[in-house]
C-alpha cells in the first residue's frame, strides 16, 4: 500500500534519514520504533511531503508521491495524527473534526462523524467545547478523530501515547486495534515499544536515521538487542 525506497531526508545539511526503505501492507498494523531523535517523526512527515525526501521513491497505491504537495498527498486516502497532536485549540471539537473532512462532501462527513463519535463517546460529551480546554487524552482522541474524519485507508500515528496516563494509553491502543479490524491500515510510530510491538503485525527499528532491523511484532519483542535497547532489558 505504502512503499519507501531508499529515502533520504535532510534538514539543511543535516541528514535525518539515510536510505530508508520500508513497506506498509494493506490491512496491517506496522510499527516503527526508535529512540528519541532517531528520525521517526521525520520519516512520517517525509511520507506526507513535509519535509520532502531529497532522494529515493515513495509510492502510495502504486503511485509515486515524493514530488507531490502535502495537501495533494493527504487527499489520496491517508491521514496523519502528528506528534504533539496539533489540534486547533481555539476551535471547538466539532470544528476540529470538520477540519478533518474538509475535502469530503457534507454527506460523507456527516456519516463519518457519527462513526467517530461512536468510537470516542468522550468527544460527543465535549462536542461544543474548545479543543484547548480539554485534557491531553481527550486532545489525543480529538486528533485521531479528526484524522479519521477524512475516512482514510491508511492512518499514520506519531507517538499517540506520549504523555498520557496508562489507562488512556490502553484505550488508545484498543481503538487502534479496532480501527484495523474495520480495515484501516495503521502505521504507528512509538517510543512505547513494548505496547506498540504487542499489537503490531510487523515492526521496523530506526536508529540515527537508519533502519537497523525489521520483523514481525513478536520476533522483535523477543529479540535480545531490541529488548536491551527499547524494552528495558
Amino acid at each position: 500500500m505504502l512503499r519507501l525506497d531508499n529515502v533520504s531526508t535532510f534538514y539543511g545539511k543535516i541528514q535525518a534519514l539515510h536510505n530508508v526503505s520500508l513497506e506498509v501492507n494493506q490491512g496491517e498494523i506496522l510499527t516503527l520504533i526508535g529512540a528519541n531523535g532517531a528520525g521517526k517523526t521525520t520519516l512520517m512527515m517525509t511520507i506526507c511531503g513535509d519535509p520532502r525526501a531529497q532522494s529515493g521513491h515513495i509510492e502510495f497505491d502504486g503511485q509515486p508521491i515524493q514530488q507531490m504537495n502535502t495537501s495533494d498527498i493527504m487527499r489520496m486516502g491517508m491521514a496523519v495524527v502528528p506528534e504533539g497532536r496539533r489540534i486547533f485549540s481555539g476551535m471547538t471539537v466539532e470544528e476540529n473534526l470538520f477540519m478533518g473532512s474538509f475535502f469530503r462532501s457534507k454527506d460523507e462527513a456527516e456519516e463519518q462523524l457519527e462513526h467517530v463519535l461512536e468510537l470516542f463517546p468522550r468527544l460527543k460529551e465535549r462536542y461544543s467545547q474548545r479543543g484547548g480546554t480539554m485534557s491531553g487524552g481527550e486532545q489525543q482522541m480529538l486528533a485521531i478523530g479528526r484524522a479519521l474524519m477524512s475516512k482514510p485507508r491508511l492512518l499514520l500515528l506519531d507517538e499517540p501515547s506520549l504523555g498520557l496516563a496508562p489507562i488512556i494509553i490502553q484505550q488508545i491502543f484498543e481503538i487502534i486495534e479496532k480501527l484495523r479490524e474495520e480495515g484501516v491500515t495503521i502505521f504507528l510510530v512509538e517510543q512505547n515499544a513494548h505496547q506498540a510491538l504487542k499489537i503490531a503485525d510487523r515492526g521496523y527499528v530506526l536508529e540515527n536515521g537508519h533502519i537497523v532491523m525489521s520483523g514481525t511484532g513478536n520476533a522483535l519483542l523477543n529479540d535480545d538487542s531490541v529488548r536491551k535497547a527499547y524494552l528495558g532489558g
Partner: protein, 308 residues
C-alpha cells in the same frame, strides 16, 4: 447641553466615521499577518486603487446619464471590490508567494517595493494631480441647539456606518460560520497542520488577500466620496493609519482591527477638536507607541506565537 459637549459629540461622530474606514482597511493587514506573519505594505495601494476604480465608475456612469444614486453606489462598490481583489490576489501570487519560506525580511522589502510600484503605476496611468470625486451625496440631519452648536450627521456618514456594519458582520459570519472561514482560522493557528488535512493552504492565503483587498476597496469607495478628493498618494497615509489601528487592536486579531480602527478614528477626531489639526497624526502615532510600550500585543492580541 453645553457647546463643548455638543462639539465633542460632533467630533465623536466624525471620528467613528473615519474610524470605521480605518477598521475596514485594518482587517487586510491583520488577516494577512495572522496567517503568514507578514505586513503587506502594499495594502494601502490596494485601497487607493479601489478609490480610483470607484472614481472611474462613477464618472463613467454619470457621463452615461445614469442618475440613480443606489445604482451608482452599488456599481462603484462592485467594480472597486473586483479590481482591488484582483490586485490583492495578483500581488500575493506574483510578489509574495514565490518568496514564502525564505527569511522574513525579504517579503517585507518586496511589499514596500510593491507599494512604491503601484503608487507610481497609478500616478503614470491617472496623473498625480488631485481629482475631484463627484459629490453624489449631500445633506444630512442636524440636531442640537442652533443658538449654541448644531451637531450634524451627514447622509454620507450614515452610509459609511451602514456599509461598514454590513461588511464587518458579513466578515464575522464568514469567519465564524463558514467552512472556508474555519479553514482561515485553522491556517492562522497552524498552517502546516492545515496542509496535513489535505487543504491547499496557498488558496486559503490567497483568499485572505482577496478578502482584505475587498474590504479595503469598500473603504476606498466610502472615503473617496467622503473626502471628495483623491490622488495616487492617499494609500500611503490611509495604509499607515490602518496599520496603526491593526497594531493597536492587536495584529492578527480581527475584532482587534475593528476596535483599533474605531479608537484611532475617535482619538484623532478628539485631538483635532482641541489642537491644531496637524497634531492628530502625532497623537495617533504616539498612541501606537504607548500601546506598544505597555501592551506590546495590542488591545486584543494574543502573545506572539512563533510563525513557521
Amino acid at each position: 447641553m453645553t457647546e463643548t459637549s455638543l462639539y465633542i459629540l460632533q467630533q465623536l461622530i466624525n471620528g467613528l466615521t473615519i474610524g470605521s474606514t480605518y477598521a475596514l482597511i485594518a482587517i487586510g493587514y491583520t488577516m494577512v499577518y495572522g496567517i503568514i506573519g507578514m505586513i503587506n505594505f502594499a495594502h494601502g495601494e490596494v485601497y487607493m486603487i479601489g478609490t480610483y476604480t470607484a472614481f472611474i465608475t462613477i464618472v463613467g456612469l454619470l457621463t452615461m446619464g445614469v442618475g440613480s444614486l443606489p445604482i451608482i453606489l452599488l456599481l462603484a462598490l462592485i467594480t472597486a471590490i473586483i479590481i482591488s481583489s484582483t490586485y490583492g490576489y495578483a500581488i500575493e501570487r506574483v510578489a509574495y508567494r514565490p518568496l514564502r519560506g525564505g527569511p522574513r525580511l525579504i517579503p517585507l522589502i518586496t511589499a514596500i517595493g510593491m507599494s512604491i510600484f503601484l503608487q507610481n503605476y497609478i500616478r503614470l496611468a491617472q496623473g498625480s494631480r488631485d481629482l475631484a470625486m463627484p459629490a453624489l451625496i449631500s445633506g444630512g440631519i442636524e440636531f442640537g441647539d442652533p443658538a449654541v452648536f448644531e451637531v450634524s450627521i451627514s447622509w454620507m456618514q450614515l452610509i459609511i456606518w451602514g456599509i461598514t456594519l454590513i461588511s464587518m458582520t458579513s466578515l464575522a459570519m464568514f469567519i465564524s460560520r463558514s467552512r472556508l472561514g474555519r479553514a482561515c482560522r485553522a491556517c492562522a493557528q497552524d498552517r502546516g497542520m492545515t496542509n496535513l488535512l489535505g487543504i491547499d493552504t496557498n488558496r486559503i492565503i490567497a483568499l485572505t488577500f482577496v478578502i482584505g483587498a475587498a474590504l479595503a476597496a469598500v473603504a476606498g469607495v466610502l472615503l473617496g466620496l467622503y473626502y471628495g478628493i483623491i490622488n495616487p498618494y492617499i494609500g500611503f497615509m490611509a495604509g499607515l493609519k490602518a496599520f496603526t489601528a491593526a497594531v493597536l487592536g492587536g495584529i492578527g486579531s480581527i475584532p482587534g482591527a475593528m476596535l483599533g480602527g474605531l479608537i484611532l478614528g475617535v482619538t484623532e477626531a478628539l485631538t483635532a477638536a482641541f489642537f491644531p489639526s496637524e497634531y492628530k497624526d502625532v497623537v495617533a502615532f504616539s498612541l501606537l507607541v504607548l500601546i506598544l510600550l505597555f501592551r506590546p500585543t495590542g488591545l486584543l492580541g494574543k502573545p506572539e506565537v512563533e510563525k513557521v
